[in-house]
Symmetry: C2
């Protein structure tokens, strides 16, 4: 069974997404919306990707929460529709940076409670957390660079 490049792309997006630890269907929806370029309803996703209504709803909202898709209400239609946001890069980076900062904070918080005779271990752990924090800072810096390069209005968080 040979596949068209279009189908192949959708499938690959799903695999990449799951390789990054997320639900495969979210990646497939992302690929589908990218290809279509215009708003698509949950029913259309179900039809195109052969998935259940529940999965379409859950994963589309996941993309929405991550800032990769936007929900729109076409006038005259009772159905919600989702649209791939034009330049998802900054949103993706902000999500990663947020997670890194939370992890850094938690590591710092725990290591602060180490007993006094573990000073050397504590220092290594603090260094480790510091790297996480700097990573987050660096991603923010990069995000700013991307947005200014394009002259985007940063109204979307």
């Amino acid at each position: 069974m040979s596949e068209s490049p279009i189908e192949d792309f959708i499938q690959t997006m799903g695999l990449m997404w799951s390789a990054d630890g997320g639900p495969r269907i979210a990646g497939q929806i992302m690929g589908y919306l990218l290809l279509e370029g215009e708003p698509r309803t949950l029913a259309q996703m179900c039809d195109a990707l052969q998935i259940s209504k529940g999965s379409a709803s859950t994963n589309a909202r996941l993309l929405e929460a991550k800032g990769l898709a936007r929900r729109v209400h076409p006038v005259g239609s009772r159905q919600d529709a989702f649209l791939a946001v034009p330049h998802p890069g900054p949103s993706m980076l902000k999500t990663v940076a947020l997670r890194l900062r939370r992890q850094a904070d938690e590591i710092s918080r725990i290591s602060a409670q180490f007993p006094e005779d573990e000073g050397a271990a504590q220092q290594r752990v603090v260094d480790f957390a510091e790297f996480y924090r700097k990573s987050a800072d660096f991603m923010d810096e990069w995000t700013a660079r991307i947005e200014s390069d394009r002259g985007d209005d940063p109204k979307e968080n």
Copy 2:
């Protein structure tokens, strides 16, 4: 059952690792090696973390492959031992950059096969891949900055 901050740290490292889509035990080993600061054998990991010999072997080699731990052979001992590398940041970043580049390459390869009447979709997909590639470039740039800041010899890849 209350936990010491030390145990809490190991456990938290495991949870973070699995939240990022990896094996929990790999994170626990990483935390353990960070705390100890000196080479530790597989048997010691099994004892400290209450895990099987197979898991210790598999996950320690995973850390080694990612450049976060180094295998050493203490003279006079028949056992391998693993040591947390002092500054794992660059290795982690290189791993991420490599994955991003592979994903960008695969997306580009697939989109190049799109039929001619899908030009607009192709453009959107190419833009998407381009973001992945730029991300990888940016991480490399950052890696270089970190290494030069510290004056490290970059003998380790």
